[in-house]
C-alpha cells in the first residue's frame, strides 16, 4: 500500500515482571482505517499508551512519519500529529463542550500567556481561529447544540463523540480511537461507522481498538490481532476472520459479542 505513517518495531513493554507487549511489529498506512483487536488484557490500550508517549517501551522503536516518538513528551507527540480518545471517557467535565474542543485546537497556536494579557493581534487571530475550528468540529460531530454545555452534563453518546471532536481539534495525521463504540446501541454504531468513514475521507488516518466485530469488519481496511501481548494476525478483515489462531484466541476468551 501507500507510505507507512506509523510504525512500531519490535516493541516490548514490561511492567515489573509482567510483559504487556512482546516484540510487537505494527504499522498504519496513510489514509487507511486500521483496527486493533484482541481479547481483554491483550495489550491493545498499552499500544496506544506507547504510541502517545504515556509509557516508554522497554525496547523497540516507534516511528511516526520517519521520526521517533520514544522519549518525546506527551504534548510533543500530540503536536507531531497523533491524537487519541480514551476507553473510559476522560473529558474536562467542568469545561463546556466548546472549551474541550478548543483546548485541543490550541496545540498549534503560538501565542501564550503574554499574548493573552496584551491581546496581541496574533493572539486575537489565533483565538478566533481556534474557536471557529472548535465550532466546526462540534458541528461535524453533530454536537453544535451542545457547545455551551458542560462536558459532565452531556449524554453518554455525546460525551464519546465530544472526545473524538477534541482529538480531531489537534489536527492529527493519525487518530487513535479507544473503543469508540463502547456502550452504543446498534443504531448509534451504524452512525459511528459512518462518522469514522467521513473522518477518513476528510484525510485523517484512523487506528481504532474495538470489541464489536461487525463494526470492525464493516469499516476497517486492515485488522491486527493481539493476544497476550503478541501479534498473532495482521491482514484484511476477510482473512483475519478465518484465521484459526484468531478464532482460537477468541474462543479461549470470547469477546463481547454485543
Amino acid at each position: 500500500m501507500s507510505e507507512k505513517l506509523l510504525e512500531l518495531k519490535n516493541i516490548t513493554m514490561k511492567f515489573g515482571g509482567v510483559t504487556a507487549l512482546s516484540e510487537v511489529n505494527l504499522h498504519v498506512s496513510k489514509g487507511e482505517i486500521a483496527a486493533l483487536i484482541g481479547p481483554n488484557g491483550a495489550g491493545k490500550t498499552t499500544v496506544f499508551n506507547v504510541v502517545t508517549g504515556v509509557y516508554k517501551p522497554t525496547s523497540g522503536e516507534v516511528n511516526f512519519v520517519g521520526q521517533s516518538v520514544v522519549g518525546k513528551k506527551r504534548y510533543q507527540v500530540t503536536k507531531m500529529g497523533i491524537a487519541r480518545t480514551f476507553q473510559n471517557i476522560r473529558l474536562f467535565g467542568e469545561s463546556t463542550a466548546l472549551e474541550n474542543v478548543v483546548t485541543g485546537a490550541d496545540v498549534h497556536s503560538k501565542s501564550g500567556v503574554v499574548g493573552a494579557i496584551f491581546g496581541t493581534p496574533r493572539s486575537r487571530r489565533e483565538e478566533a481561529a481556534a474557536l471557529e475550528r472548535g465550532m466546526e468540529l462540534l458541528e461535524f460531530m453533530g454536537l453544535k447544540h451542545r457547545a455551551g454545555q458542560l462536558g459532565k452534563n452531556l449524554p453518554y453518546g455525546d460525551q464519546r463523540r465530544l472526545e473524538i471532536a477534541r482529538a480531531l481539534a489537534t489536527n492529527p495525521q493519525l487518530l487513535l480511537l479507544d473503543e469508540p463504540a463502547a456502550g452504543f446501541n446498534p443504531a448509534e454504531k451504524v452512525a459511528l461507522a459512518a462518522t469514522i468513514r467521513k473522518i477518513r475521507d476528510a484525510g485523517y488516518t484512523v487506528l481504532l481498538i474495538e470489541h464489536d466485530m461487525s463494526l470492525i469488519m464493516d469499516i476497517s481496511d486492515r485488522v491486527a490481532v493481539l493476544d497476550f501481548g503478541q501479534k498473532i494476525a495482521d491482514d484484511v478483515p476477510k482473512v483475519v476472520q478465518n484465521d484459526p489462531r484468531v478464532i482460537e484466541a477468541y474462543l479461549g476468551a470470547p469477546a463481547d459479542a454485543s
Binding site: F15, N49, V54, F86
Partner: protein, 316 residues
C-alpha cells in the same frame, strides 16, 4: 562552618541524631498512615503531638512531680514515667480521633475537594494552637526531671546518655508493635486494603469509617509516645512545639516515601541525624534550610522518596 566539630564529635552527634530521629519517625508514622488511607496531609497532626507533650506535663503534675524536686528512683520512677507516657499517648490518640471527626468526616462523606478538607484541618490546627497559646499565656513550660540523666558509657568519644538510649529503644519497640498491628490485625489489614484501593476495600466489606478512625488513633498514639519522649529528653514544651517538629516529621515522611511505613522510619532517622550534623557544622539556625534543600534534592532525583510509595497506581 565548623567541620572540626563534626569530625571530633561524630559519634556523639550520630547518637543524638538517632534520638531525635526516633522522635521524628514516630510522628511521621501518623502522617504516613493518614496519607496512605485518605491521600491527605493531616495538617492537624502537629497539634496532636503538641497536646501529647502538655498531657505528659499535666500527668507529671498529678503524680506530684515538681520542677525543683530531685529525680525519682526505682519503681517510683518507672511508674511515674509510664503514667506520663500513657497519658500522652491517650491524649494524642483521642485528639487524633476527634480531629478526624471534626475536620475530615463530614467533608469526606460529602465528597468535598482535597483543598476544602485541608483548610478544615488547618482550621482545627489553628484553633488548637491558639487554645494552648491562651491557656499557657504564650509561655514555654518546663517539664520536671523525673529521671536522673546519667552517662551510661562512652564509645569513641561519644557519651551515651541513658534517657536517649531509652528513647531509641522504646521508639523501636513502638514501631515494631505498629508494624505487627498493621500486618497481622484485622484493622491493620483493613488499613492496608483501603490504602491500596478504597472502592474495592468497601466492596469487600471493609468498614471505611472504622478503618479511618483506627488509622488516626494509631497515628495519634505514636505521636503521643513521641511527645513523651520529646519532653523527656528536651524537658520543655510550648504551644509552638508542634509546628517545628511537624514540618520536620512530614519532611521525614516524604523523604522516605509517603504512605510507606518503613520509609517513614528511615526518613525520620536520616533526617534526625542529618539535622544534628548540619546544626554542628553550620549552626542550628541553618538546620531547617539544609533539611529543605535535602528534601528538594531527594524529590528531584527520586520523586517517590527513598523507599518509594507503597501505593502506586498506574495512571491513564
Amino acid at each position: 562552618m565548623d567541620f572540626a566539630l563534626l569530625h571530633d564529635a561524630f559519634w556523639g552527634l550520630t547518637f543524638d541524631g538517632l534520638a531525635l530521629g526516633a522522635i521524628y519517625a514516630l510522628i511521621s508514622l501518623g502522617y504516613t498512615l493518614v496519607y496512605g488511607v485518605l491521600r491527605l496531609i493531616n495538617f492537624a497532626h502537629s497539634e496532636v503531638f503538641m497536646i501529647g507533650t502538655f498531657s505528659a506535663l499535666v500527668a507529671s503534675g498529678i503524680m506530684g512531680v515538681k520542677v525543683e524536686d530531685d529525680p525519682r528512683t526505682g519503681w517510683n520512677m518507672i511508674f511515674t514515667l509510664l503514667i506520663c507516657l500513657v497519658a500522652a499517648m491517650l491524649a494524642s490518640g483521642i485528639t487524633a480521633v476527634l480531629v478526624e471527626i471534626v475536620a475530615y468526616r463530614r467533608l469526606r462523606q460529602r465528597g468535598a475537594t482535597k483543598l476544602a478538607t485541608l483548610i478544615s484541618a488547618i482550621g482545627v490546627s489553628i484553633s488548637l494552637v491558639e487554645l494552648f497559646r491562651i491557656i499557657t499565656d504564650s509561655l514555654p513550660r518546663e517539664f520536671p526531671r523525673i529521671m536522673d540523666k546519667t552517662f551510661l558509657f562512652s564509645y569513641a568519644g561519644a557519651d551515651i546518655r541513658n534517657d536517649k538510649v531509652i528513647v531509641i529503644i522504646a521508639a523501636g519497640l513502638m514501631m515494631f508493635a505498629l508494624e505487627r498491628f498493621i500486618s497481622k490485625s484485622r484493622y491493620g489489614k483493613g488499613i492496608r486494603a483501603v490504602s491500596m484501593d478504597e472502592n474495592t476495600a468497601t466492596l469487600m466489606g471493609v468498614n471505611i469509617n472504622k478503618v479511618i478512625t483506627v488509622t488516626f488513633l494509631a497515628g495519634g498514639l505514636m505521636a503521643g509516645a513521641a511527645a513523651f519522649f520529646y519532653i523527656l529528653v528536651y524537658e520543655n514544651t510550648s504551644f509552638k512545639v508542634g509546628f517545628f517538629l511537624g514540618i520536620s516529621a512530614f519532611t521525614a515522611a516524604v523523604l522516605g516515601g509517603i504512605g510507606n511505613l518503613k520509609g517513614a522510619l528511615f526518613g525520620g532517622f536520616v533526617l534526625g541525624i542529618l539535622e544534628t550534623y548540619t546544626s554542628a557544622v553550620f549552626g542550628t539556625a541553618w538546620k531547617a534550610v539544609i533539611s529543605f534543600l535535602i528534601l528538594v534534592l531527594v524529590l528531584l532525583i527520586k520523586p517517590t522518596g527513598l523507599f518509594g510509595e507503597s501505593i502506586q497506581q498506574a495512571r491513564v
